[in-house]
Symmetry: C2
DNA sequence: GTCTATACCCGGATAGAC
DNA sequence: GTCTATCCGGGTATAGAC
C-alpha cells in the first residue's frame, strides 16, 4: 500500500467513525480528500477493498488493546474487548459483519488478537472460541440496540465472565 | 395487516431467503408479485416496515422452535437456536442486526422466545442474557464466515453449553 | 383503493482524455 | 493520478388512470 492509499484509509476511517456506515460512500470519501470518486479506483479496486483495509486497522488495534489489558484474566480481557468495541462502534461492526480476507491482514494479527484469550482459558481452543462468541454477541447485540432498555448489561457481562472463568 | 400485506411479506421472505439481503429491493419484491414497486407503498410506508414484519415472523418462528426443543436444558435450547438460525441465515441476520421495533411485534413473542432459556438458567436474568449473547455470537460469527476454516464449531458450542450449564 | 408511469436523487463503477 | 462524462440500479414520491 502506497502513502496515498494510507491517506484514503485514514479518511475512510474518520468518515465511518464520525458518520456511520451509510455515510461511507465513495463520493463522500473522495470529497473528504478533495478529489473525485473515480480517482479512488486508481488506488483500490472497489469499495470492498477499502473496507478490508479498515478491518486490518481494527484487528491491529484490537490486538493491541487486548495485550494492554490489566491482566490476563477473562474479566479483564472482556472489559478491554468491550471498551474497544464501544469506543469504535462503526469500525467494530464493519470489521465483524462480513467474511474475513485473511490474506490481506497484517501477518499474525489474528493470532495476536486471539492469544490473550487463549491463555485466559488455559489453551482450550473450544472454550476460547465460546468465550469470544460470548463477547462478540454481547457487543453486537448492544451496538445493534437489541437489549431491552432496562437490561443490566454490566450484570450480563459479569455472568458471562463468571461462566468462562474456571 | 390486510391479506395483501401478508402476501407481500411472504414474497419478501422468499426473496430474502433464496437470494439474500442484497436481492431484497422494492423493485425485485414487486416483480415477484407481478406488480410495480410504487404499489408496495400503499401497503407499507417504506422498506424498513417490510423488514420489521420479517423480524416479527422470525421471532414467532424462533420462539416456537425453542418451545419445541427436546428438553429445557441449555444444550438442547442452544441446538434448537443454532438449527433455526442456520436453516434461515438471511432471515436470522436481518432480524438481529438492527434495532428492534418492539411495538410492531406480536404481543408477548419476545417473552415467549426468552422464557425457555430463562428457565434453563433457573431464572437468572443476567445469566440468561449472557447465554443468549453466546448463542447469538456463535451464530453471527458462523453466518458471517468469521471462524477459521479448521475451527471445530461443534466443540465450541459444547464448551459454551458446559459453561452455562450449572 | 389499487395500480401505472414517471421522475428525482444518490449509490458503485467504467471509459477515455489530460 | 486525476479529471469529465456516463451507465446502471437502488429508495422514494407524486400524478393520474381505472
Amino acid at each position: 500500500m502506497g502513502p496515498r492509499a494510507r491517506q484514503i484509509v485514514a479518511a475512510a476511517r474518520a468518515l465511518l467513525e464520525e458518520e456511520g456506515a451509510d455515510a461511507l460512500t465513495m463520493r463522500r470519501l473522495a470529497d473528504r480528500l478533495g478529489i473525485k470518486a473515480p480517482s479512488l479506483y486508481k488506488h483500490f479496486p472497489d469499495k470492498a477493498a477499502v473496507a478490508t483495509q479498515l478491518t486490518a486497522v481494527a484487528f491491529t488495534e484490537l490486538a493491541a488493546a487486548l495485550e494492554a489489558a490489566d491482566d490476563d484474566s477473562f474479566p479483564a480481557l472482556a472489559a478491554a474487548y468491550r471498551a474497544y468495541a464501544l469506543a469504535h462502534p462503526h469500525l467494530y461492526t464493519l470489521s465483524t459483519d462480513r467474511p474475513l480476507h485473511r490474506d490481506e491482514l497484517p501477518p499474525g494479527v489474528e493470532d495476536r488478537a486471539a492469544a490473550p484469550l487463549l491463555r485466559a482459558v488455559d489453551g482450550d481452543a473450544d472454550r476460547a472460541r465460546a468465550a469470544w462468541a460470548f463477547a462478540h454477541g454481547m457487543v453486537a447485540l448492544e451496538l445493534a440496540g437489541r437489549f431491552p432498555p432496562d437490561a443490566d448489561l454490566d450484570g450480563a457481562w459479569r455472568a458471562g465472565a463468571a461462566a468462562f472463568t474456571p
